[in-house]
Structure formats: structure tokens, C-alpha cells
């Protein structure tokens, strides 16, 4: 019976209506989007100061001239981010787990972890970068690196580690107690419960805020410029001070945007995959 089914007149009519409705919303979306962007473009380029702004910030010649120097500096930002991010993830998860530990033996660790998050979340990142990058090498301790870039990276790790630890902790706290109960009912130890049941669910739940923090970290690698490290921002400022033109700063901004977009798309994709797998058909 079902194999011989063909849509009735009414159903075909309905499909035509649905198609028309879809076409209509696509049309509306296109017109509105185009309208908004054209409006913005006209509004900005029509402003009285636009010619001088264009000369100072959007100068093709200076963009090309500074491009290589900015690109070279930008590699430092990229490397810094790529090295700091995994270290932050590990440190933050460790701190979050320490803060949720319930064992009597681990009370001092718990207190230290709490102290760490309180202190390092409270200090502005730029201050931390300057303090560590200039302060630690000045101690002239044997065996410690004196590279300012290294200590600027440490500052970023410490600052972001505290933020991300709190994100992890809120994720861990959000897992329903029944999950822990059922893990314990299977005779899993506290550590096993965390490792196999709680943390995997918590991580999934905190991926969006985590990504947010990492986009923020990508941008904050620019703070190392405050410690005199020759990154993209420092290179751009150097060029600008020499040539009296700010175009290189816009070039740097472009670089940062290009770097952050793929990460955002990746997370969207991850989120969708989790949702499809775990909430199939639930409504």
C-alpha cells in the first residue's frame, strides 16, 4: 500500500505553498541583508572625515609595505597561542578537579587551587605580562630562562588558566547528581567517576564558553607587545610610528579575524555533532 502512495492534489498544492513561503523568506533575507550592508557602507564612506580616515587607516600602499613585517610578527602570536592553549587546558582542568576534590587529604590542594583562581583572575592580564616579563628575568636566578617572550607566555597561561578552570568547574557542577550516583552504584571510584562519567559530559557542555575564552586568548597574545616582544602589534606600531600611518594596525586586525573564524566554525560543527548524536529526535 505504502509503496503505491503518491501525493494527493492537496498535498501537491501544499508543497507548492511551502516552496513559495521558502522562496519568499529567502528573498526577504537577501533584500534585508543587502540593504543593511549597503546602508552601512554608504553611511561610513559618506561621512565628512572619511577621506582622511581612509588615508590614515586604509591605505593600500602602507598595507602592502607593512605586510611582511606584520606577518612575521604574527607568527609569534600564532606560536604563542598554539603553545599556551594546550598548557592552559591541562592546568585549568587540574585546578578545576582540585577544587571539586572531596578527599580529606587533598584539602591543602583545594585551598591552593581556590587561592590561585582568586588571585590570577583578579589581576589584569596586561599587568601580569609586564610583571613577569620584566620582573622574573631581573631576579637573575640561575637556570631560569630570561626570555621575555617566555615569561609573557607564562603570564597568559596563569591568567587564562584561572578563567578556564572556573569554566570547567561550572561544567563539572552542572552534571546532575544522579549521574554520579549511578557511576558510584557501578562501584567506580571517585577518580574513575570523574574520568569516565563526569568530565566527558562536562567538557562537552562547556565547549562554547571555552571557545569564547580561546578566541579571547588569541587576541590577548597581542598583550606581549607591552613587554616589548616583537609580535604583530609591536611590528605594526613600529611601522606606524616611523611612517605616520595606522594602516598596519588594520592589517593586524584582519590577521586576528582570519585566525579566529576557523575556530568558531569548528566549534559550531562539534556542537551540532554532539547534539545530533545525543539528542536524536527529542523534542
Amino acid at each position: 500500500m505504502s509503496s503505491t502512495w503518491s501525493p494527493s492534489e492537496r498535498e501537491q498544492e501544499r508543497r507548492r505553498i511551502r516552496r513559495r513561503q521558502r522562496a519568499r523568506s529567502v528573498l526577504i533575507a537577501t533584500v534585508v541583508t543587502a540593504g543593511v550592508f549597503v546602508g552601512l557602507g554608504v553611511g561610513i564612506t559618506g561621512s565628512p572625515g572619511w577621506p582622511s580616515v581612509q588615508e590614515l587607516f586604509f591605505n593600500g600602499f602602507h598595507a602592502r609595505e607593512s605586510f611582511d613585517a606584520v606577518l612575521e610578527g604574527f607568527w609569534i602570536n600564532v606560536k604563542l597561542f598554539l603553545i599556551c592553549q594546550p598548557v592552559i587546558l591541562v592546568l585549568a582542568l587540574a585546578v578545576a578537579l582540585a577544587r571539586t576534590a572531596r578527599s580529606a587529604w587533598l584539602v591543602p590542594v583545594r585551598l591552593l587551587a581556590a587561592l590561585y583562581t582568586d588571585v590570577f583572575r583578579g589581576i589584569p592580564t596586561i599587568l601580569l605580562v609586564i610583571l613577569l616579563a620584566f620582573g622574573v628575568p631581573a631576579l637573575r636566578l640561575e637556570g631560569l630562562p630570561t626570555d621575555r617572550l617566555f615569561w609573557a607566555g607564562v603570564a597568559l597561561v596563569l591568567s587564562y588558566g584561572a578563567y578556564v578552570a572556573e569554566v570547567f568547574r561550572s561544567g563539572i557542577d552542572s552534571i546532575h547528581p544522579s549521574q554520579i550516583a549511578s557511576a558510584e552504584a557501578l562501584a567506580l571510584s571517585r577518580a574513575q567517576t570523574m574520568r569516565h562519567v563526569v568530565v566527558p559530559q562536562a567538557v562537552r557542555r562547556v565547549v562554547p564558553p571555552l571557545l569564547n575564552d580561546f578566541v579571547s586568548l588569541q587576541k590577548d597574545t597581542a598583550l606581549v607587545a607591552a613587554a616589548g616582544v616583537f609580535d604583530a602589534v609591536f611590528a605594526a606600531r613600529d611601522y606606524g610610528n616611523f611612517n605616520f600611518n595606522y594602516t598596519p594596525l588594520v592589517v593586524v586586525a584582519g590577521f586576528f579575524v582570519v585566525m579566529t573564524v576557523p575556530l568558531a566554525r569548528l566549534t559550531d560543527w562539534l556542537q551540532r555533532r554532539y547534539a545530533e548524536r545525543e539528542r536524536a529526535g527529542a523534542r
Partner: protein, 245 residues
């Protein structure tokens, strides 16, 4: 006079799977229609299609003489007049019982806070929930939560009430308190379509029983007929499995 709800030749598929196949059903005012059949026979899907939670793939659904399966119909207009209760209660955990019950009357039906709360308190106390008005849903037992869900659906004074296996998630001892309410509603002449596994209840309150199997209404009739003298062999098999003795 045409029926309050007319379902004609409705078809619904998920991919290649045909969930509803040429289903037709008329519901008059004050009818209590019970949908019975094994899991996956399409009972819930039919209710969801009637409430326009799912688009149908063929056929026509009319409510009060107007075709609501037309894509140009605003589903919210239809849902203002239809109440639905789900198997898993689906109460809003962040709102108190009272706020759950006044949300739609206030935001959708334009009642003042006072009117909405009076109406909700009234219904809540009628159904023995007066003590729980200010609690949050998670503090209540399953039976109490489901009764609140019923009240929430009733607070908008719907012309048609759809109940989707509302006792299926309850402990056996809590089923009774929920069914008592449904029985009261039936006695008051509330028009209802309900999917249920409670055969004795269906036999008692239904004006008409539909047996669904593999997405089709295999047979429909007064409960006495369906339960005592089913025409179809498959209905007989199903009833042998679910009826005690």
C-alpha cells in the same frame, strides 16, 4: 454539523519509515477518543500532527471547519485553542507551579495577572494541588507534576485536549490520581483525544476507541465493541497481550 476535529487521510513519514498511513478520524465536541495500540503504532505522532508540532506529508486536518494543515495557517492560532499534555510532564523547572499555569494565559491569552492566577488557583485546588501552588515542579511527585501539567493545559480553556500517554511515566500507585482528573474532565464534557496504555480506563471513559497498528487505524468503535468483540485478528492479539486474564 461538522465535527470539531476532522482528520482525513493523514500520512506522515520519517525518511523511509511510514509512521502514519492514511489515517482518518472525526472528533465531535464532548467526544473522548482513546487511541490504543503497541508502542510505535503512531499514537503519539498522530497527536503531535494534530497539534501541528509535526508537518504532515499528506491528507487534511480540519479544526472547527477550517483546514489547519495549510502551511499558511499560523500554528499558534490553532494551539491557542488546543491543549496538550506530554508523557514526561514537560513542566518548566525554573517556574513555580502557579507561574507554570499562568504563563500562557497571561502572555498569549492576554489575561491580567489577577485573572490568570485566580483561574489557576481555582483549578489547582479543584484537583487537590492547593498546597503546592508556590512550589517548584521538581519538589512534587510524578503524579502531582502530571496533574499540574493537566491544569496548565486547562488554564487556557482549550476546546480540545490532547493527552499523550500521560500516565506512562508514573508509578502504578500514582496513575489513579491522574486518571481521576481525566475522568472528571470527561464527565464535564471536555473534548479529548488521548493515547493510552490503560485499557480498563479507556473502556470506562471513551466514547470511541481507535486501535492503531503500523500507522493505520485498524478499527474504531465504541469501547464495548472493541474490547468485547473486536473485528480484526490483530486487535484481538493486542488485547490478549495487554488485558489481564
Amino acid at each position: 454539523m461538522s465535527a470539531l476535529l476532522e482528520v482525513q487521510g493523514v500520512r506522515k513519514t520519517y525518511g523511509d519509515r511510514v509512521v502514519l498511513d492514511d489515517v482518518s478520524l472525526d472528533v465531535d465536541a464532548h467526544d473522548v477518543i482513546c487511541l490504543i495500540g503497541s508502542s510505535g503504532s503512531g499514537k503519539s505522532t498522530l497527536l503531535r500532527c494534530i497539534d501541528l508540532l509535526e508537518d504532515i506529508d499528506d491528507g487534511v486536518i480540519r479544526f472547527d471547519g477550517r483546514e489547519i494543515s495549510d502551511p499558511r495557517v499560523d500554528p499558534r492560532e490553532v494551539r491557542r485553542r488546543i491543549g496538550m499534555v506530554f508523557q514526561a510532564y514537560n513542566l518548566f523547572p525554573h517556574l513555580s507551579v502557579l507561574d507554570n499555569c499562568t504563563l500562557s494565559p497571561r502572555r498569549v491569552h492576554g489575561l491580567s495577572r489577577r485573572e490568570a492566577e485566580d483561574r489557576a488557583r481555582d483549578l489547582l485546588s479543584t484537583f487537590g494541588l492547593a498546597d503546592h501552588v508556590d512550589k517548584h515542579p521538581d519538589r512534587l511527585s510524578g503524579g502531582q507534576q502530571q496533574r499540574v501539567a493537566l491544569v496548565r493545559a486547562l488554564c487556557t480553556r482549550p476546546d480540545l485536549l490532547l493527552l499523550d500517554e500521560i500516565t506512562a511515566a508514573l508509578d502504578p500507585e500514582l496513575v489513579g490520581e491522574v486518571l481521576t482528573i481525566v475522568r472528571q474532565l470527561a464527565e464535564r464534557g471536555t473534548t479529548m483525544v488521548l493515547a493510552t496504555h490503560e485499557m480498563s480506563f479507556a473502556r470506562e471513559v471513551a466514547t470511541s476507541v481507535c486501535f492503531l497498528s503500523e500507522g493505520r487505524i485498524l478499527e474504531q468503535g465504541p469501547p464495548a465493541e472493541i474490547f468485547s468483540n473486536p473485528r480484526e485478528e490483530r486487535t484481538r492479539q493486542f488485547l490478549r497481550r495487554v488485558l489481564p486474564g
